[in-house]
């Protein structure tokens, strides 16, 4: 990629730091809580996605019962089966995608 483009994108990235729920079928209360949890986890483990994912998963397990699965990363593909009303796919920090779902 060209430098200018990259720079522009980087600028934009910096702007896009707020969490954005790309897709979710959770009810509002749960969604808000899960989103806040993801933000907290990603901010706490800014450079360790694994820990962030672990934290998200553990906390969700405690709050909403087993078994939650979380993916934190910048680029990945997934195909999952989840329990209805227990899926959250959100972006955060401009380059972080968090996928959180329940399937026991």
């Amino acid at each position: 990629m060209e430098g200018t483009e990259e720079k522009k994108e980087a600028d934009v990235k910096r702007v896009h730091t707020y969490p954005l729920i790309r897709h979710s079928d959770m009810n509002d209360e749960m969604k808000t809580e899960a989103m806040e949890l993801c933000v907290t986890a990603c901010e706490k483990f800014a450079n360790n996605n694994e820990s962030a994912a672990k934290m998200i998963k553990d906390t969700m397990d405690k709050k909403f019962g087993a078994s939650w699965h979380a993916i934190v990363g910048e680029g990945y593909g997934f195909e999952i089966t989840h329990e209805v009303k227990n899926l959250l796919y959100m972006f955060f920090g401009g380059n972080m995608a968090i996928c959180l779902w329940k399937c026991s």
Partner: protein, 804 residues
């Protein structure tokens, strides 16, 4: 143990030689009880010692230590050999008992083996016993112990004898027995007391006290056995149901580009919304992907300075993304609307539950029933309004559209047809379908309410019965439905209490229903009554009768049945029946005079009654129609004979009715296809109407015109006077007919459970003087009858018509 034991026994023997010396030195010690006791207590030891001693004889040359003085200083075992002890004890005993030197005596006895004399001697035993008494021990035990010890010693002696040679025996040996210091190994004073001793009583008393004390002691070791069982709690099953957890599959590839695009798209949206501030709560909308897709290629293209590979990659990713996106939406839509429409379903699902609850509550409420009831009537009113208006005799003010053809048609048809019947509607519902209408009766106080009985006339195919109360306001469904096991054959509403409905059944029962309550139970039933009819109750009627002398009138129920009885039912505590007439069989007309004299052998002495009608003025007089074809005029005063018998019908008389205008005239219909008009003073019919070749089931005088009546035969309803005939469209047989009380309508019941309402149209107006009109007809017919008694239908009917 054997070796140490063996040694002492040997030692004892070897020491015998020194014993005498030692004894002489110390002098004979006074024999002590304790010695004896110790010896006695050690007898068990002796026993063992003695057995081993035999073996130990071989060990004679055992090492012995002697000092300079020649004394045996061989270390003695701590355990003093018993045989010595015993022997010493014995010697002591002997010494005590005998006056002479005990040692000598003993030695003599020992060596010379004068066993018999020594042991058998009385003094020995005696002395032993006396001694033992002093020691306060049980005599028997002591004695036995002594004896055994004696025996031990004897054995010992025999051993010695074996060992010793003859030379040894011959040799004179000096034995000096000396008493060693008494060593007490165990001192166990006996606590036994003889029963006959002085202390025995005291000891026994103390023993008893002790036992009691033991028993009384708190926390003693007396264990009481007690069993205990824990309860087995009954197991319970508990099932819990959760809502089904639904699963959905989703898949997406997340990339930085996707994130970027989403953010950009969202920003665009927010810009577009302009002030419509949506924060992070924005969720992807179904529209966004497409928008995004549209935008993306454009922006990529406008992006310009990208090398081809990068461009291609991006496009590919975009395409892939869009594909994924679309698939996501598809799956979501397939998986149920939850994915995107989660909010809506989440919200709407709760009200639906509440609605279901609400619905249940509403469905069960009385209010709803009432509302439905009113609504049903409103709808029926809407449907039947014009016809009901006709029923009431009002002119129809119908729609303008309809009026044109209707009026023209009526204008054309009515005059052409003359008097005719117009079918208005039918009282029919699925409940009554296929049931035979057996009887009709109007409610006396509410002329819009008709009760209809359903029941088969045939004996062979009896069905359950039904009574329906139909209201004019709802021809679609009866107001009241009463079911019964037997077919209903007759009905009548009470006059005094308009809510009471008497019902006669095919099995002879009579019941009374209260039509105020919708309960499907008769308030009175004659099933258990003694006077119950044995055959179908063909007619039932409430009659107001004068009671004795006073003005008071009471209402009684009269029923007639094929068993030949006319029964009066009065209601006090339940039913009370009283037969006011037993219909007797008359000799048949066919029978000749000869037979009459002889008398006929009847199978049944009673004639089956089918119908009756009370005279409107004189409630004591009534007419009863029988299966034979006779009509009997009876009085309540006589229950055996008839006042009059009218013969004319050749088949069962189905219905009789007094004219409502002229009190002497009555009409009857029969299975012989005819309807006859009678005057009560004439035993032959005045007029005979013979319209078809079918049984006439029912007749009814018109309440409006004195000369009009309706009848139904199996195929048609006829209103005579102006002969109008209506034929039912279906193959149903008509069974009953009645005139509306407040209307120009005729109601006709048929065998298919339908009651059809016909409007009488274009009827001639009733004559001014009704009574005179009918009388005129009768006079005319009587006049014409003079030449021929029986006029057929045309002959009889035409003059009637002509008269009006």
């Amino acid at each position: 143990m054997s070796t140490p034991k063996a040694k002492p026994s040997l030692l004892a023997q070897s020491r015998r030689s020194h014993a005498g010396a030692s004894r002489s030195k110390r002098g004979p010690a006074a024999s002590t009880r304790s010695n004896l006791i110790s010896s006695a207590s050690k007898r068990s030891m002796l026993g063992t010692g003695q057995t081993t001693s035999e073996k130990s004889t071989t060990l004679r040359d055992k090492v012995q230590v002697f000092d300079e003085a020649g004394n045996d200083v061989t270390p003695l075992p701590l355990f003093t050999p018993d045989p010595n002890q015993v022997r010493k004890g014995q010697s002591n005993v002997l010494g005590d008992s005998s006056v002479g030197t005990p040692t000598d005596l003993l030695s003599v006895s020992n060596m010379s083996m004068t066993t018999a004399s020594a042991f058998g001697g009385g003094p020995f035993t005696r002395s032993v016993f006396t001694q033992s008494y002093d020691t306060e021990s049980g005599p028997e035990e002591e004695g036995a112990g002594d004896m055994s010890s004696w025996a031990d010693i004897r054995h010992k002696r025999e051993d010695v004898k074996e060992v010793l040679t003859q030379a040894d025996l011959d040799k004179i040996v000096d034995l000096l027995l000396d008493e060693t210091e008494t060593i007490w190994m165990l001192d166990l004073p006996t606590v036994c007391v003889a029963h006959d001793s002085e202390e025995a009583a005291i000891v026994q008393e103390s023993n008893r006290k002790y036992l009691e004390l033991c028993k009384a002691r708190v926390g003693n070791d007396l264990y009481a056995e007690r069993s205990m069982n824990t309860f087995n709690e009954p197991p319970k099953l508990k099932a819990i149901q959760t809502t089904k957890i639904g699963y959905a599959e989703t898949g997406v590839t997340c990339t930085n580009w996707d994130m970027y695009d989403t953010y950009t798209a969202q920003e665009k949206e927010t810009e577009a919304a302009a002030g419509d501030k949506e924060e992070e709560g924005t969720i992807s909308r179904p529209t966004s992907p497409t928008e995004e897709d549209e935008k993306k290629p454009g922006s990529a293209r406008s992006g310009g300075p990208q090398d081809d590979s990068a461009k291609g990659e991006r496009r590919a990713s975009v395409k892939g993304e869009s594909r994924v996106e679309s698939r996501g939406t598809v799956t979501s839509s397939v998986a149920g609307s939850e994915l995107f429409a989660s909010k809506e379903t989440g919200v709407s699902s709760i009200p639906s539950d509440i609605a279901a609850l609400d619905e249940e509550r509403i469905m069960k409420s009385e209010q709803l029933k009432k509302s439905l009831f009113i609504m049903e009537r409103v709808i029926n009113l809407n449907t039947y309004q014009p016809k009901q208006a006709l029923y009431r005799g009002f002119k129809i003010v119908s729609d303008v559209d309809r009026e044109v053809p209707n009026t023209s048609q009526i204008a054309l048809s009515v005059p052409d047809l003359g008097p005719n019947l117009d079918r208005l509607w039918s009282y029919v519902c699925p409940l009554t379908k296929g049931r035979n209408v057996s009887c009709l009766t109007w409610n006396k106080s509410n002329p819009d309410l008709i009760a209809v009985g359903y029941g088969q006339f045939d004996f062979t195919n009896q069905k359950s019965g039904l009574v329906c109360c139909w209201s004019l306001k709802n021809p679609e469904y009866p107001e009241r439905v009463y079911t019964s096991k037997q077919g209903v054959t007759s009905l009548d509403f009470s006059v005094a209490n308009a809510n009471l409905l008497a019902v006669g059944y095919y099995d002879g029962g009579v019941g009374i229903y209260n039509v105020r309550s919708p309960e499907d139970e008769p308030i009175l039933d004659s099933q258990d009554s003694q006077g119950k009819h044995l055959c179908p109750v063909w007619q039932i009627q409430w009659i107001e009768k004068e009671r004795g002398t006073g003005e008071e009138r009471t209402e009684v129920l009269i029923s007639i049945s094929t068993d030949g009885r006319v029964t009066q039912w009065s209601i006090r505590k339940g039913f009370e029946s009283y037969d006011i007439m037993r219909l007797k069989k008359l000799p048949t007309r066919m029978a000749g005079k000869a037979r009459e004299k002889k008398g006929e052998a009847f199978i049944s002495r009673h004639a089956g009654g089918l119908c009756f009608d009370f005279h409107s003025r004189d409630t004591n007089v009534y007419l009863a129609g029988t299966e034979e074809g006779y009509i009997h005029k009876c009085s309540c005063s006589y229950n055996e004979q008839y006042l009059e018998t009218y013969s004319g019908h050749n088949a069962p008389v189905y219905q009789i009715q007094w004219s409502p205008f002229v009190t002497d005239i009555f009409l009857s219909c029969s299975a012989d296809w005819t309807i006859r008009l009678w005057h009560q003073d004439r035993t032959t019919p005045i007029l005979t109407f013979h319209s078809s070749t079918k049984m006439v089931h029912s007749i009814c005088w018109s309440p409006r015109s004195s000369t009009v009546f309706a009848c139904v035969n199996e195929g048609a309803v006829e209103v005579l006077d102006a002969v109008i005939t209506a034929t039912p469209t279906s193959g149903a047989k008509l069974t009953s007919v009645t005139f509306g009380k407040n209307t120009e309508c005729v109601l006709v019941g048929d065998s298919e459970g339908q009651i059809t309402v016909y409007e009488l149209r274009c009827m001639p107006p009733p004559p001014d003087l009704q009574v005179d009109a009918l009388n005129g007809v009768i006079k005319a017919s009587l006049a014409s009858q003079l030449p021929s008694v029986e006029g057929d239908k045309t002959a009889a009917d035409t003059p009637v018509e002509d008269d009006f």
